[in-house]
């Protein structure tokens, strides 16, 4: 039998005690919105991926940024395609922090994105794509709807 204090500890493992961050930083939880196998499984079992690195100089992920996530014990790369945080005028703000998983070449792991994607991502992804580098525009091709 556990002591009452230990019981409290066990119970508290299931609740989050960290204050809500209004931006994507390391250890932020995200929602996978493509239909990749690993993403679907992670969301179904209720263990959404955590951001473990943001590939920019400031360490804060904004719309269209590439991040590294820990998902089902693996490390995968992803692109942020919709954020909860306040956005500029005419850029949509979403109710969840959405992520699309990609591989090192920029090819999405899934074949379809179930939620709308902001139009501004077209330009952002094109800017990030360089010849001989990763091609991120494939992500735009699998989107089902734009807002």
């Amino acid at each position: 039998m556990l002591s009452p204090f230990a019981m409290l500890n066990v119970a508290s493992r299931n609740i989050s005690t960290s204050t809500p961050a209004s931006q994507i930083i390391k250890l932020s939880r995200l929602r996978v919105v493509d239909n990749s196998e690993i993403g679907k499984k992670a969301m179904m079992e209720g263990r959404p991926p955590r951001c473990i690195h943001v590939y920019n100089k400031i360490g804060v992920g904004y719309i269209g940024d590439r991040i590294l996530v820990a998902i089902r014990g693996e490390k995968k790369k992803g692109i942020l395609v919709g954020l909860k945080q306040q956005q500029a005028p005419k850029v949509p703000k979403f109710d969840t922090n959405n992520l699309v998983l990609i591989d090192d070449n920029g090819t999405p792991l899934g074949t379809r994105i179930q939620v709308p994607i902001p139009h501004i991502l077209r330009t952002k992804m094109k800017e990030k794509t360089h010849s001989k580098g990763a091609d991120y525009t494939k992500l735009i091709a699998i989107a089902s709807r734009f807002v």
Partner: protein, 272 residues
């Protein structure tokens, strides 16, 4: 001397009469239809010359793009140039959950559910990229903002993108939608119980939270006349502002009214 005085007096009288007449001509509803013409009451941000210039710019913009009458709770459709879209034009439909800002910085926030994903977009009303603003359903709600729709089930903020505009009868007052929204269980994004909201059903809260809300409440503030005075533009100043813009606004209204009647005619389509 006496004659001069009397002349001046009569002129003053005339002016006062004119003012009264003009005030009668300005409908009382203007401060609700055009709230962005009233400046920010905070004295830190007052600048009479800038406000005047902004009003001129706003009128110039309104002659090009019709900004209809709408309130928090109305359903709007905004068509705007989107340089990132393939057709360079985009349209968004949603319920107005917030209306903020004054002058050229006036904004509204539209909210909608697309593919079961909540989306909010801020639009600046006087943005030159905006091509058209349509009010699809003109109505008001019980609260000054509807941010609580973020914590409400999806059906309260779902509107189809191909929604048909609903027309009100000529001269009818704006209907108030007295719907009570049932919020999702906690956690919430804001402490709704502290905002004295009328458009939500009774909240189920633990004792502690009720106690804290009671401790944080400031029920005496509604008797604070100076606070109210500082937070609003006095009626005299409002009249002065609307006197300045009234004729131009009225003109714009009339031309829009004419166009609306023109639009009502639908050319029969060839079939077969």
């Amino acid at each position: 001397m006496i004659t001069q005085d009397s002349v001046q007096e009569s002129q003053n009288n005339k002016k006062a009469k004119q003012n009264i007449e003009q005030r009668k001509a300005i409908p009382n509803r203007y401060r609700f239809i055009y709230p962005e013409f009233l400046p920010d009451p905070d004295p830190k941000y007052r600048n009479l010359l800038r406000e005047k210039l902004e009003r001129m710019d706003m009128l110039a913009r309104r002659t090009h793009v019709a900004i209809p009458e709408f309130y928090v709770g109305s359903v709007l459709a905004v068509t705007y140039s989107e340089p990132h879209a393939p057709g360079k034009v985009n349209k968004f439909v949603g319920i107005c959950i917030e209306r903020k800002g004054s002058g050229l910085r006036a904004t509204c926030v539209l909210r909608n559910m697309v593919n079961n994903q909540g989306i909010e977009v801020i639009y600046e009303l006087y943005d030159p990229a905006i091509q058209k603003i349509e009010c699809l359903r003109l109505e008001r709600r019980l609260d000054s903002h509807l941010r609580y729709l973020r914590d409400a089930p999806a059906e309260y903020s779902t509107f189809p993108f191909d929604m048909e505009p609903e027309y009100l009868l000529e001269g009818a007052s704006v209907p108030v939608n007295e719907i009570k929204v049932q919020l999702n269980p906690r956690p919430w994004l804001e402490k709704w119980e502290r905002q004295e909201l009328k458009g939500i059903t009774e909240l189920q809260l633990p004792e502690r939270r009720i106690r804290k809300a009671k401790a944080a409440a400031t029920p005496w503030e509604k008797y604070d006349l100076m606070k109210k005075y500082r937070e609003t533009i006095p009626e005299e100043d409002q009249n002065e502002i609307f006197n300045e813009v009234h004729t131009k606004l009225h003109e714009v209204e009339i031309t829009r009214h004419r166009q609306k009647h023109k639009r009502a005619f639908v050319r029969p389509q060839k079939t077969g």
